[in-house]
Symmetry: C2
Subunit: 361 residues, 2 copies
């Protein structure tokens, strides 16, 4: 088959021009006589790719100079352990706000190293809303406050940056980074596996306010030390060069398309179309998340008659709409509509949903 | 320019058929309507890729069933920390044999967690030989004995597996894995960044004897737990799918070419030709490593007149022979001739070296 509209939650769809450039350069890149997969990360050619990717991400996200930008391995999950090792003293209290599956994962990784205070948790309500800020029970001397900006599985998203005063704010932005303008200066640390909104799998972006490096943290190997990575320009050891290069192509594409201001507009239109289709279906489709907390990035929805799920997925696939099956935790459907998902894709999905309903409703 | 013979120490050259397949599939893979970079690691299509890659590596290296094979992120350096965390008690003694730069790196990563006994160290001799086994001062109760099978910078390689009886043998095989038949059953753990002999950057192979998982190790996050990775088929979190896929293509290519027995023959011929060219140059070129410890994978060499280095590199580049500059620690030249370097490439280099000598010698 040809390329479909791919609603995968991650690894997720990439812009076709990015893939075409990677394809064209797969055997011979930049006049060096080899693919970029085959050249040293210490050579001037790759160092320029790395430098340019960082510069473009800084432009794209308006990252202030007093923040380090790291390109690492290990995914967001490894960062959830490393943040405790780097920025909390052994056994120090840290505050976590849990609004879905990934918030729980973050706690699991940190627990061996710190005393986790769950400041708020919406699990009792099925992770369908964001706990009101006034109800958070923050600690007095927390090393940091952690939350998940967008929960990929439950489709719950913070629409505003929460105000916290007791400690620096750390946030998992894996599934919503660079989806709209963000005031980075409100955060101590932002991290994101790149395979959703930034494109390629295998590289993780970590943005850290540099004064946090002064914290002693906990005994750890040098390879687990963020400051060492920062000092080594994220080349403490061999980085995932091809993945970093592909992220750089994605950043250039995003800048050329108009940057995060433009993607915020597109993402808002895409999400509105999909939620309107669901809400206007008279209950044939439903999304259970509180309206103010609905994710612009991941739209889980359910058919009233779950017996139709298989037909929905099969016919969607035939219509060129793939990876719509919901996460096993929730069942049903999920459409992930990150930056690289074109509006045409969401329009096609909305049309298909209305058509499917007209035939089975 | 077109594709050159690329002697990069890593990321290193890949077989052209592997790159051509990756290129052909860059926009649309396996009839799924998307690139493999864009599909979920939880989908049946990628799981089959992952399963097949492991099966092929097991065949290629004759890995016994009682060994787990993991495909991880973090590079070899992260494993050097994780092995201590997983397989040694806090502060337990571990034995390290140091034969070059990477052996020292391994110790640096382990030191925060264990009591490192340097059982042997050839640094005083400039890392030009392997310390005789009889001179190693192994501990009585070490958690493991670690050595570096091939030192990429110094060009020193163990030609035989050392006999140790006090503890399981752990070895960094980053630059010589699958270069010849190996009795995996002699080891507790083998690890290798894939970007040298196994092809793609961004994925690390870890081979562990399963009974070691019974060791409690040290307090650590789940993402740092090898047994959790094994239980999760190396998909505890989103793996570097594209890199894993490319490794799988490389394994298939190696099997089709005749497997490690054939690569052992080719690698022996390539190394012999290069060392013969150096040794037969009457001192115009020199390699300083003891003959019995010379690496088949990385051949560092020096021109008698270092003032000719720049001309050598420039003319080699013009002749389509690239990435020959030596590591900054040693200077001079280095030719890395891993599995994917064709014999024609080494023949071209040897011819160039003789020609260069005839003009400048």
């Amino acid at each position: 088959m040809s390329r479909a509209f791919n609603f995968s939650p991650g690894p997720a769809t990439l812009p076709e021009p990015v893939l075409r450039q990677a394809q064209a350069e797969m055997l011979e890149w930049n006049g060096v006589g080899a693919s970029i997969v085959e050249v040293s990360h210490r050579g001037p050619e790759f160092i320029e790719v790395a430098r340019q990717a960082e510069a473009d991400l800084r432009t794209l996200m308006s990252i202030p100079d007093d923040y380090a930008v790291l390109f690492l391995q290990g995914g967001a999950t490894a960062q959830q352990a490393l943040m405790a090792l780097n920025f909390a003293a052994p056994g120090q209290t840290v505050d976590y706000v849990v609004t879905g599956h990934w918030g729980k994962t973050a706690i699991k990784q940190a627990r061996p190293y710190v005393d986790v205070n769950i400041a708020a948790d919406s699990e009792a309500g099925g992770f369908r809303d964001i706990p009101a800020r006034d109800d958070w029970r923050l600690s007095k001397d927390a090393a940091y406050v952690h939350y998940t900006a967008n929960e990929t599985i439950h489709g719950v998203e913070f629409r505003d940056i929460p105000q916290v005063d007791n400690a620096p704010l750390f946030a998992d932005f894996s599934s919503s980074i660079a989806a709209e303008p963000l005031d980075v200066s409100r955060f101590g640390m932002i991290y994101a596996g790149a395979q959703k909104n930034l494109g390629p799998v295998g590289v993780t972006v970590v943005i850290v306010r540099r004064d946090l490096f002064e914290r002693a943290g906990q005994p750890r190997a040098d390879i687990f030390n963020y400051q060492s990575h920062a000092n080594g320009d994220s080349m403490l050891n061999t980085p995932p060069t091809w993945n970093w290069y592909l992220a750089g192509l994605m950043f250039k594409w995003m800048l050329a398309e108009g940057g995060v201001t433009e993607f915020a507009r597109r993402n808002a239109r895409k999400a509105a179309l999909l939620y309107d289709t669901i809400d206007g279906s008279g209950g044939f489709y439903r999304n259970e998340v509180a309206h103010a907390a609905r994710s612009r990035m991941n739209v889980p929805f359910f058919l009233r008659d779950a017996a139709l799920d298989a037909a929905f997925l099969k016919e969607a696939g035939t219509a060129g709409l793939i990876s719509l099956k919901g996460h096993r935790v929730l069942g049903g459907m999920r459409a992930s509509i990150y930056n690289a998902m074109p509006e045409e894709g969401v329009q096609a999905l909305a049309s298909f949903m209305r058509d499917f309903q007209s035939r089975y409703g």
